[in-house]
């Protein structure tokens, strides 16, 4: 596998990658099953809270406030964390984050480290970077372990191995853990992971994690998890390094009372996930002796400057929008060719690449709005998708190729037609004549020539009516339209009077 150098794996367009995945009935079945299960659970546990909408409102407001004053809260966090014995590092980009983490690991002369699932480390390509420098990172989250041992890529950021079923997981574990007799029940597979990792938890001295939240007022870090692998990594090693995006800061400890309700219910459909850990710096006799936070920008800060898409950074990575998305349901996560898949990935990935990569992703949506509906921090994803589409078109129009592209020419022609009544009616008359050879016996158009064939490839089109609205209107209002009754005439006169008066 080629090491992922960035959060975007390749520049294949979404439709190309999606076509491949749509042919994989195994993946589609696994994705459909998993997303249906999570969604049903999520609907049940969010529906039972009478104040769910108020929690969303508060979550949105707190996250938007944190972003609006991000410099202030980050500095406050860094001061408080340092005071509590933590060490804060700043990384402008992925390369800098990787160098800092490698340096910290090498200082302790170890060749193996523990890892808690972190999408941010996938974003910067930390594992391949460490590998290239002689350091083996052991993923400890069950799903991440499946991905790592199966030399696969994550397809969902809460359940990264959601595209694998139990039989496939068994196959990977049998091969990689040398357990030919391993059973296929999820219990057997979890037990295998437990014994495979337990020795490593007790032996290894350095762990690398991400974080769900940073707390500005006291410098605390919060990690939400299920299996206890997180607690193992946060508690047993001597050194803990947390790589965290700059957007993840919250003003105060008590703000967690909102997010520890909305995150678990949105992410896994549980009222509370099995474990939440919150800690501040280092504490003698309890946990690591050395604690580092690496604050990662990696092109997040410029997103703050775009008033319409800043809300992208409100995301708390619950993945509810993936589970709700009809497009994700069909393709799974790999079609997005990005660490961040689904609706939020479709807006985050291109922005993290200054709109230079992932440009097909804002189009990977029907704009149905299901993502916005479930988002616990009310990110209006459809609004941002349209905004980004607009940006892409504007940029395209700056190049000659874009100007001469079929979309631009088509839209320019349409704009010219719609700007003038006489041009529009001429075009309609031409269309009425030209369409005749395409209309079938049922009165529908099944095939149109290029470039309109794109539309008729998957749907029939109704032909233009024999008479346009303007033609009909002109006939009705002309003085010699003898067929009009008295009452119709009176009604029309009133209508005209009304519009004249405006």
């Amino acid at each position: 596998m080629k090491p992922a150098a960035s959060s975007h794996w390749s520049n294949r367009d979404f439709p190309v990658a999606a076509r491949e995945l749509l042919e994989d009935s195994q993946i589609r079945g696994n994705v459909r099953h998993a997303t249906n299960v999570i969604q049903a659970k999520r609907d049940a546990v969010t529906g039972e809270l009478p104040d769910w909408q108020q929690l969303r409102d508060a979550g949105e407001a707190i996250r938007a406030h944190s972003l609006a004053h991000l410099d202030f809260y980050l500095e406050q966090f860094a001061r408080a964390c340092t005071q509590a014995g933590g060490q804060v590092h700043w990384a402008r980009d992925a390369a800098e984050a990787n160098q800092i983490i490698l340096g910290l690991i090498q200082r302790h002369s170890v060749t193996e480290v523990l890892k808690i699932k972190t999408m941010t480390s996938e974003e910067v390509g930390l594992n391949p970077y460490l590998e290239a420098n002689g350091i083996r990172a052991h993923e400890t989250d069950l799903a991440e372990l499946i991905i790592q041992l199966g030399k696969d890529k994550p397809s969902h950021f809460v359940v990264p191995a959601l595209h694998k079923n139990r039989m496939q997981v068994r196959e990977i574990f049998q091969r990689e853990m040398h357990l030919p007799e391993l059973g296929e029940r999820p219990e057997d597979l979890a037990a295998a992971a437990r014994s495979y990792l337990r020795e490593k938890f007790f032996r290894l001295k350095v762990a690398v994690s991400g974080a769900n939240f940073l707390i500005a007022e006291n410098g605390a870090v919060c990690i939400v998890e299920s299996e206890g692998n997180g607690r193992m990594c946060l508690t047993l090693p001597d050194v803990l390094i947390s790589l965290v995006g700059i957007e993840k800061v919250l003003p105060r400890f008590r703000d967690l009372e909102v997010f520890l309700q909305t995150l678990p219910r949105s992410a896994t459909g549980e009222r509370m996930n099995p474990y939440n850990s919150i800690w501040t710096g280092v504490r003698q006799g309890d946990g690591p002796k050395e604690f580092h936070v690496v604050l990662l920008d990696n092109r997040r800060s410029p997103i703050l400057g775009d008033a319409e898409s800043r809300q992208t950074l409100q995301c708390i990575r619950c993945a509810a929008c993936l589970n709700a998305c009809p497009v994700y349901h069909q393709t799974g996560g790999h079609a997005y060719e990005s660490v961040y898949a689904g609706p939020i990935g479709a807006i985050l990935t291109p922005q993290l690449h200054s709109m230079e990569e992932g440009r097909s992703l804002p189009y990977a949506s029907s704009l149905c709005g299901a993502c916005y509906e479930v988002c616990p921090v009310k990110i209006n994803i459809p609004e941002v998708l349209i905004h980004l589409r607009g940006k892409i078109v504007e940029e395209d129009q700056k190049t000659l190729r874009g100007q001469l592209g079929i979309w631009n020419l088509g839209m320019a022609a349409a704009a010219m037609l719609f700007a003038s009544a006489s041009r529009l009616s001429m075009a309609q008359r031409l269309g009425q004549i030209a369409q005749k050879i395409f209309v079938n016996r049922d009165g529908m158009i099944e095939h149109l020539p290029f470039p309109l064939s794109g539309w008729t490839q998957t749907r029939d089109l109704k032909p233009l009516p024999k008479q346009s609205f303007r033609q009909w209107w002109a006939e009705r209002t002309s003085p010699d339209a003898a067929s009009l009754g008295d009452s119709d005439r009176a009604g029309q006169a009133a209508g005209r009077g009304g519009s004249d008066g405006q």
Partner: protein, 224 residues
């Protein structure tokens, strides 16, 4: 210039230039106070309903639960440990001696004068279980919170052993998550762990199964 220093100032500069005009700390604090907080903060259940909800949630997670009387703590602990077949337990150094039944081996852990305990993680892993109290518990979510406070010990204590017996007093059980944060807020710098049932995963086909790395078995005694 030191590269880490320049990274810091460059990131902050980039954020500030994206955000435009900056506000004073006082104005930010005022704005923060005005954020909408229309969600439920205080619970409305009676003590009885609250306890029943708490126990039901724990049972749903697969924990063993029992309501006990204040004068029966020692006896009930003995009963649970015997039923689980646990003979060797580790306890926070400040656990009341009155809780400890005879016939079991209890090893104290931690304490002011021995911050480096004799037991390492591997030794803790070899114990049959751990017995603790807690800081607060949440009925609505079936969560218990440990804060390295009295009767709780450090985090490793409740992590490495495979069995956890937790004693929760009825007055420690609040109804909502915000109520638990009101309790935790004054000691927010202590290492804090919420646990809701035994460790679990749903990573394989979204089937929740008990027991991965944290304690796989959990019993809770609620003292009234």
């Amino acid at each position: 210039m030191d590269s880490s220093f320049s990274a810091r100032s460059e990131v902050l500069r980039s954020i500030r230039s994206a955000l435009g005009e900056r506000m004073e700390a006082e104005s930010i604090a005022v704005q923060y106070e005005e954020l909408p907080r229309g969600y439920k903060r205080a619970g409305a259940l009676s003590q009885e309903d609250r306890l029943q909800l708490f126990l039901r949630r724990l049972e749903e997670y697969g924990a063993g639960v029992k309501r006990i009387a204040r004068d029966g703590i020692r006896e009930e602990i003995g009963g649970k440990l015997a039923a689980r077949g646990c003979g060797r337990l580790v306890i926070p150094y400040d656990l009341p001696a009155a809780w400890l039944p005879l016939g079991f081996e209890f090893t104290p852990y931690g304490g002011e004068d021995k911050l480096s305990p004799l037991l390492g993680a591997t030794e803790l892993d070899g114990m049959d279980g751990v017995l603790t109290g807690c800081t607060v518990a949440v009925a609505e979510t079936g969560s218990i919170v440990l804060q390295s406070g009295p009767r709780q010990g450090s985090r490793v204590l409740t992590l490495a052993p495979d069995y956890h017996l937790c004693v929760v007093f009825a007055e420690q059980v609040v109804e909502t998550v915000p109520e638990s944060f009101a309790v935790l807020n004054s000691t927010s710098c202590l290492p804090t762990t919420f646990f809701s049932g035994p460790s679990a995963t749903a990573d394989i086909e979204m089937t929740r199964i008990k027991g991965v790395h944290g304690p796989r078995f959990l019993d809770v005694l609620v003292v009234e």
